[in-house]
């Protein structure tokens, strides 16, 4: 089963890992932050080694994006960011796991101060058994 883990955050300045650049993350002391980083590195190693991690990308500043919209009979391009929301999409990971429980376990450990993590199942083109 494939799930996407979406990291929504508002690091300022924009940077990765987002937890170092959010207001909440900055309030951590060095020891706490190091422990957090170590735990995250361990998680990434585990899911990469197990073959559960399919792909993951950290995204550039939303201001660097280009937005395309259909207007009239053609597309029109404008400069980003896409939405004036507090949190932007900062990165995503695609995992292929045994169960929803496992996906939830992985996604939960992505939550760092200031981040909002969204776990969404991927849809698939196959039909159900009958």
């Amino acid at each position: 089963m494939k799930y996407v883990i979406l990291i929504h955050a508002n690091p300022n300045p924009w940077g990765h890992p987002t937890g170092h650049f959010t207001d909440e993350g900055r309030r951590l002391d060095a020891t706490q932050r190091a422990a957090m980083d170590r735990k995250f590195d361990e998680l990434m190693e585990t899911v990469a080694a197990s073959g559960e991690l399919v792909v993951g990308e950290a995204l550039a500043d939303p201001a660097s994006s280009t937005i395309y919209r259909w207007e009239g009979d053609a597309h029109v391009a404008t400069d980003g960011p896409y939405a004036e929301t507090k949190e932007h999409l900062a990165g995503f990971f695609l995992v292929d796991v045994e169960s929803r429980e496992r996906a939830e376990e992985i996604a939960a450990s992505f939550a760092h101060p200031g981040d909002v993590i969204e776990l969404r199942p991927a849809m698939w083109a196959g039909g159900p058994d009958a």
Binding site: D96, M123, G127
Partner: protein, 413 residues
């Protein structure tokens, strides 16, 4: 593209070749790599040079050569880099014994049991079984599961590394552990089957269908363990479900539920074989979940029309299944049978408690069944709401379309 019949031959030999290599040289990991090399060589040479007289012996010979080269190279490296005692394989340069046909059966079983070793995660067991037992390449397995080849390779490498820790990889497990180990193999084959059953990635001719592979491997398992009634049940369940495959999808790729399928398109040979297996298995040994699910599939397959389905018998079988393998999905299926046999109200009593179960909040099937019952009970508005609720949780695109269509059908004029 290679001749599919050759492909069938060399892949059928895979577990036997691997078994022979591991018994002779040890080193499951290196032996498995050598097997892959030999399969690739067969794919290259057989189509142009013709199939060898004894394909298995050919593969063993080629794979042994590669394995010996590999072990020698490893050995040389070990000496160079570590300057430690020579880590010689059991018998790297020993003479090739004759291919012994009498041990075939046990070899296949031993390889299956090893690939489904309890120290591996289920997805790793699935990946390794497809490679080492079914003889698929990593690229084929990756495409079947719609993941990048590197992801699948990682799963396989890791699985093999973990197996290297097993003390006696080829020893059969103790008798007391055998049922659990065979159950793990059965579950892995069942997962391969359901993946193949639902995946559309197999549309390409270059990927062997996972459903067909699962049936082939279940046949092998059944051949090794003819008296295991659950293995018979597993094979029967696969055949009886696969028999309906071509009737399950419309020409536009839409999903056609059982009740609406053209039963003339069901595969009669598979149904006959499946029913014979269930009939033979049920009177013997403990009745397990695969046998019961196969028996349920058989009742459906035996009905000439949807209306002729013996729902009372299906209800009874689900009741037995719920006793030995309780779970919300079984209860849901039982509720469908109860609705058909005794009406929607009796069925709703069964699923009402499940509607409050937080563990099921992401299960679209609960609301789909609830919607169906509400519709049968003559409550179209509630049914429509439940269909829409189900559609929001569905992750299968054809199924979501089907649920939306059901909701639309109930829209007030």
């Amino acid at each position: 593209m290679s001749d599919p019949s050759l492909d069938v031959v060399w892949r059928a030999c895979a577990p036997r070749v691997l078994g022979a290599l591991v018994r002779r040289y040890g080193h499951f990991d290196a032996a498995e790599e050598a097997l892959q090399d030999a399969l690739v060589a067969a794919a290259r040479q057989w189509p142009s040079e013709g199939m060898p007289d004894d394909p298995k012996a050919w593969l063993i010979r080629v794979a042994s050569r590669r394995l010996v080269d590999r072990l020698r190279a490893d050995d040389a490296r070990a000496r160079r880099e570590e300057r430690v005692a020579r880590r010689a394989p059991t018998n790297p340069l020993g003479p090739m014994g004759p291919a012994d046909a009498s041990v075939d059966r046990d070899d296949t079983l031993a390889v299956m049991l090893l690939c489904c070793h309890p120290m591996l995660s289920r997805p790793s067991q699935v990946a390794l079984t497809l490679r080492a037992v079914a003889g698929l390449t990593t690229a084929q397995i990756a495409r079947s599961f719609l993941v990048p080849e590197s992801t699948m390779a990682q799963r396989i490498v890791r699985a093999k590394a973990r197996l290297a820790e097993v003390a006696d990889p080829f020893g059969l497990p103790p008798v007391t552990e055998m049922p659990a180990r065979v159950a793990a193999v059965a579950h892995v084959l069942y997962l391969v089957f359901t993946e193949g059953h639902s995946a559309t990635a197999g549309g390409s001719l270059t990927i062997p269908s996972l459903g067909a592979e699962a049936i082939r491997l279940a046949r092998e398992l059944h051949r090794s363990l003819p008296d295991d009634s659950e293995v018979s049940g597993l094979l029967a369940l696969m055949l009886l479900t696969d028999a309906r495959r071509s009737a399950r999808t419309g020409t536009d790729g839409s999903f056609i539920p059982l009740a609406e399928q053209d039963r003339g398109r069901w595969n009669r040979d598979q149904i006959t074989e499946g029913i014979a297996l269930v009939d033979a298995a049920l009177p013997f040994g403990p009745v397990g979940p695969y046998q019961l699910q196969a028996a349920i599939a058989a009742v459906h397959d035996e009905a000439a029309t949807a209306e002729a389905t013996d729902w009372a018998q299906i209800e009874q079988l689900y009741e037995m299944l719920e006793r030995i393998a309780p779970g919300p999905i079984v209860t849901l299926n039982r509720a469908v049978a109860v609705a058909e046999a005794r009406g929607p109200l009796a069925a709703m009593e069964l699923i009402d408690p499940l509607l409050d179960d937080r563990r099921l909040r992401h299960t679209h099937r609960l609301h789909a069944v609830h919607a169906h019952l509400l519709e049968l009970a003559g409550r179209p508005d509630d049914a429509r709401t439940a269909y829409l609720l189900a559609a929001r949780q569905a992750t299968s695109i054809p199924e979501q379309r089907h649920l939306h269509a059901a909701a639309r059908r109930l829209e007030p004029e």
